[in-house]
């Protein structure tokens, strides 16, 4: 089958074949042929108000569904604006395909209008990137891009297409196979290693599961749950792994790391076998590496061989897809569980659990409330009450992100959406747009700080234009809270350029876009205001003024060991060199 068409239509044909139902973008000079083809195509194009947000929205879509998110920008400034989103997707292993226009082939390298070396600029921000020189290569490249983005360790792939390739006429022949001889995808995991790991885990006296974003990416939360139950091991999920095990599961401890709970960090420090699943031993989780899990033998399962031994040497490394590896591991553990556990180990396990429980009781992640002002933790507890573990929460970056991660429960994967590795402010609101398009059935919160919100205000227009029923909740403390916290703790409270005054009137701001908004600052207003927001059929902007000087605790100071947490405000903190 072969029909005469042009490059732009061919591209849309390939996107359709990849199952793309909508994508996010911003047109420009060199993508005019593409936008002409979109005009009467069934794939929905969502016009955002800034290209960076197109990429974040595509990420929100991908994170909420597991499907590849697609964004599109024109050459030059359009393409450079995508960069932050691409790096974000790279850091968090999110499958994205970014389409950028490029100036006409003949003009490349001539400093043409809106020309930028997109291929060169995005080399290090993508898993792979392409520049399409000839129309006949286009379908192959597009399908390869989707395959690379979604397979193995997912990530962003960029396809740069010159204007003349969009315009060129040619016959479209559907691609039937992809051959990338150098692209190595390790899925199965070594059988002997899986058995060794299972043996080690089974014999452990103090096993501890450290599960990360890989569980979400591999859709392995079912397998994780089975593993946790077979081993009866405590589980922590990282910032990227929240929802990988339901928060209400009895084996769930909480999040570990810099702002992790006392029990999570103590558990990591004192375990004898650490079962690391789809994690990369990020510095925000491990604290000082030399003091991290010092007594533990480490089982490390990851699909990316370069992650094994990168930060922490693994005693049993397994390179493979965590879903498949856990599937086989659970089979082995089921065999083991047929025979009785030796009495000594059973006692040790009981002691371990009671130790974990007492850590939990000693320093729980307790909500802080006040009669006179809204505490940020109080806000998170109220969102948690309304969500009941079921809503999608798209968070921005900063203090609110940490409180949300600590206090909001998630009963399943792909509900907690945030910029983990890169920590890109301005992520929350646009990612909520993507998530709401992907999951129109879901209640979606865009939980943002007053800093990140002001980076993404233009997207209120996109939300209004599509009537997206996103509940935008601003945790407004009048500061860049996380930076202020560090200035307070480590820079003698010299608050430098962190105060965000002149915040707009939320009610008027929302009204300017044609939807409802409200500002509250009294704790007794909180529950009813959030309920009102959720009841509203359309978008809602709720500006919650919280106490300005609240800090996130527990906190592991930079360079500290994770068991040396600062648990509460009055404790003195050493100034790092």
């Amino acid at each position: 089958m072969s029909t005469l068409t042009n490059g732009a239509k061919m591209l849309l044909e390939c996107l359709a074949r990849e199952g793309v139902d909508c994508f996010f973008g911003y047109p420009g000079g060199v993508t005019l042929p593409l936008y002409d083809a979109i005009y009467d195509h069934h794939i929905r194009h969502v016009l955002v108000r800034h290209e960076e947000n197109a990429c974040f929205a595509a990420e929100g879509y991908a994170r909420a569904t597991g499907k590849v998110g697609v964004c599109c920008a024109t050459s030059g400034p359009g393409a450079t604006n995508l960069v932050t989103g691409l790096v974000d997707a790279m850091m968090d292993s999110i499958p994205i395909v970014a389409i950028t226009g490029q100036v006409t082939s003949k003009l490349i390298g001539s400093d043409a209008f809106q020309e930028a070396d997109t291929f060169g600029i995005t080399r290090s921000c993508t898993k792979h990137n392409y520049m399409v020189k000839k129309l006949e290569d286009l379908p192959q490249v597009v399908h390869e891009a989707f395959y690379i983005a979604a397979s193995g360790r997912p990530g962003p792939v960029l396809v740069d297409i010159p204007k003349d390739v969009f315009q060129a006429q040619g016959h479209y022949t559907p691609v039937t196979s992809i051959h990338l001889p150098g692209y190595k995808v390790f899925t199965e995991g070594h059988t002997g290693q899986i058995r060794r790991a299972a043996q080690l885990m089974w014999e452990a006296e103090r096993p501890f599961i450290y599960a990360g974003g890989g569980i979400i990416a591999a859709n392995a939360s079912g397998e994780l749950r089975e593993l946790a139950e077979l081993l009866d091991a405590p589980v922590v999920t990282t910032l990227m792994g929240l929802g990988g095990l339901p928060s209400n599961h009895p084996n769930f401890v909480s999040m570990p790391g810099m702002h992790g709970s006392y029990a999570a960090n103590m558990g990591m420090t004192h375990c004898d076998v650490l079962i690391a699943l789809g994690v990369r031993f990020d510095d925000r989780v491990t604290g000082r590496l030399a003091a991290f899990a010092p007594h533990a033998k480490v089982v490390h399962v990851d699909i990316d061989p370069a992650e094994i031994g990168k930060n922490r040497a693994a005693d049993v490394p397994i390179v493979g897809d965590v879903k498949r590896v856990l599937g086989r591991m659970n089979q082995i553990l089921t065999e083991f569980s047929a025979s009785p556990v030796p009495a000594g180990r059973a006692t040790a396990r009981q002691a371990w659990w009671s130790q974990i429980r007492s850590w939990k009781d000693e320093h729980p992640l307790a909500p802080v409330t006040s009669d006179s002002e809204i505490k940020p933790q109080h806000l998170m507890m109220e969102i948690d009450r309304l969500s009941a573990g079921e809503a999608i929460v798209c968070s921005d970056v900063g203090q609110h992100q940490m409180w949300a991660a600590q206090l909001i429960r998630f009963n399943g994967p792909r509900l907690w959406i945030n910029s983990g590795g890169l920590g890109a402010m301005g992520f929350g609101l646009p990612s909520a747009i993507g998530a709401q398009f992907a999951r129109p059935d879901k209640l979606v919160f865009a939980l943002v700080g007053d800093g990140g919100f002001q980076m993404s205000i233009p997207e209120l227009s996109t939300i209004a234009s599509h009537g997206l029923p996103i509940k935008i909740v601003i945790m407004n403390n009048g500061y860049l809270g996380m930076v202020r916290q560090w200035q307070e703790l480590f820079y003698n409270n010299r608050l430098s350029s962190v105060e965000l005054d002149c915040f707009p009137d939320a009610e008027k701001l929302a009204a300017a876009y044609g939807f409802k908004g409200r500002t509250i600052d009294k704790p007794w207003e909180l529950a009813s205001a959030l309920e009102e927001a959720v009841r509203e059929p359309g978008p809602y902007l709720l500006n919650v003024k919280v106490s300005p000087y609240e800090n996130v605790y527990p906190m592991v100071p930079a360079g500290g060991a994770i068991n040396e947490m600062v648990l509460a405000p009055p404790q003195p903190v050493a100034v790092p060199k």
Binding site: R17, G19, R123, A150, P181, G182, Y183, A306
Partner: protein, 179 residues
Amino acid sequence: MLQIISLLVENKPGALMRITGLLSQRGYNIESLTVARTLDPVLSRMTIVVDVDATLRQQVIKQMNKLVNVLQAVDLTESPAVRREMVLVRVRTAQETRTAVLKEAEIFSARVVDSSTEGFALEATGDPEKLDEFIDVMRSYGEIETTRSGVVAVSLETKKLKLQPPVQQVGQASWPVPS
């Protein structure tokens, strides 16, 4: 410490940039780099000599192997391998030392590729240390100019090349749907 990496890469635009980018983004300085086509014209063999901290060597090799265009990256630093480099030397000599220069060249198995009244152009191959000595010796005869090719290396062990087979299913829609 200097590390020798041998790579088999797809002969595609951007492949070189991806590989050198991995090194430069980590602040490593490349000592030498050679690239040329293999028997299969769609593939190139690349030899890179780079100053990488010993503890990070494995990580660098792993990162290179992750690149889509890289079929194989191997560390030849400590494995049996032949390393060779070529140097072209132009040496200006006085009449009375011409014979001595030729004698020295012979000791290093260097060939004369050009001869003029002002001196010679010589071509020598060998391991990089031998070439260092050759250059030192030639410098003692007068003003010299050199161009070195950079190291090329071949492993003396057979490294099994694992290639991915073609994927017959095209389109996300045909892949297993996430639960």
